[in-house]
Every structure is written in C-alpha cells, then in structure tokens.
Amino acid sequence: MRVLYFAQARTAAGVAEESLLIPSALGEAALWERLTGLHPALAPLRANTRLARNGEFTTLGELFHDADEVALIPPVSGG
C-alpha cells in the first residue's frame, strides 16, 4: 500500500509518502492503528483527518487493500 501524507499529516509523519505491506484487507480503525503505531505524532490528527482511497474519500465500512493508494487528508484550506 502506498500511503501519502499531506499538510499537517506530512509534518507529523515526517515523510510525504511511504509503502506498507498489507497482507490482508484492513478496516479504517485497523489502518489507523497501523499508521499511528508507525508515527505516534499522527494520533492527535486522527479526529479530523479523512482518508482517501485511490483518490476518493472513503465511506463507512470500506476496506483498504495492499494495492491501494491511501492518502491522509487533514482539513483542507485551498482557494
């Protein structure tokens, strides 16, 4: 799985992107545990950071697979 970190998530993770091996599909909670285990500074961002899977915001119950591109989307501020 390719994981992309943007804005405050990038700062907290200390990297812009990384690759993770995901042997079997994960739900959102399990994925967050994996990510905050790797980067504890992400934990405070979880409450207001959305996940995108392959370029789209995920919906409740969606699963994440090894082939996915997952992005951490803190509150946006474009425009």
């Binding site: 789209e56 501020s77 474009g78 425009g79």
Partner: protein
C-alpha cells in the same frame, strides 16, 4: 458543460476567457493572497495539493452542480507551491447564458472546494 481544471506553479494570467456566442454572462472569482495571515504580516503562502484527487474532486463537484445550475463552461486554475502576496491562488471563470446560474454555480463551487478539495495552505512565509 465544458470543464477545464489546471494546477500550476506559475502566475495565473488575468481573464483570458473568450465567451462563445451563446454566452451572456462571465463570472469570475479570484482568490488572492492577502498581506497578513492570522494577524501577522506575510510575504507569501505555500500551497500543497494532492494533485490527481484535487483535479478529479473539482471535476466531480462541477459535474454535480451543473445539473442544478447549467452553465456553458467552467475554467478552474489553482496554484500550488509558493504564491506571493497579491497574486492569484485560484481563478474560477464561469460562462453561462444568464448571470443567475453563473453566480450560483461559482459561489457553491467555492464553498464545496473549501470543504472537500485536497489543497492546503501549508506555510506562511514571513
């Protein structure tokens, strides 16, 4: 509805849209970098984008809005990287037969963009 969406690191030129014969209204919004951010003077803002999703989400928002506010065309240019004070960070130009649908589409698009399009002001440069 014609939709064009561009992310660029270059200066966004002023109004270059040439309206076709059926267009009676051209409405444009430009978001400009202000000289202060949270009360402190700045010289520039740095923008970051998740480019593919930013483009696809803008397109989807516009396609959805077009059903309610049919317009002839929408051109969006959003800058990323460092944008100095006074320069345009985003320009959205909407061509439509009449102004009502143009205003409605443009202002609703900007509201949606500010909620859902993955672009960030990541740094204020002093």
């Amino acid at each position: 509805m014609l939709i064009s969406i561009e992310l660029t690191e270059s200066v966004i030129p002023a109004g270059t849209v040439v309206p076709p014969p059926e267009v009676g209204s051209v409405v444009e919004f430009r978001g400009v970098v202000r000289a202060s951010e949270n009360g402190s003077p700045i010289s520039a803002l740095r923008y970051e984008a998740y480019a593919p999703m930013a483009v696809s989400s803008m397109r989807r928002i516009l396609e959805t809005l077009a059903a309610e506010h049919p317009c002839h065309s929408v051109h969006v240019v959003h800058r990323h990287g460092v944008v100095p004070v006074g320069e345009t960070a985003i320009a959205v130009t909407v061509c439509s037969a009449h102004r009502g649908e143009g205003f409605a589409l443009l202002s609703t698009f900007m509201d949606r963009l500010k909620q859902d399009v993955p672009i960030w002001k990541v740094e204020a440069l002093a």
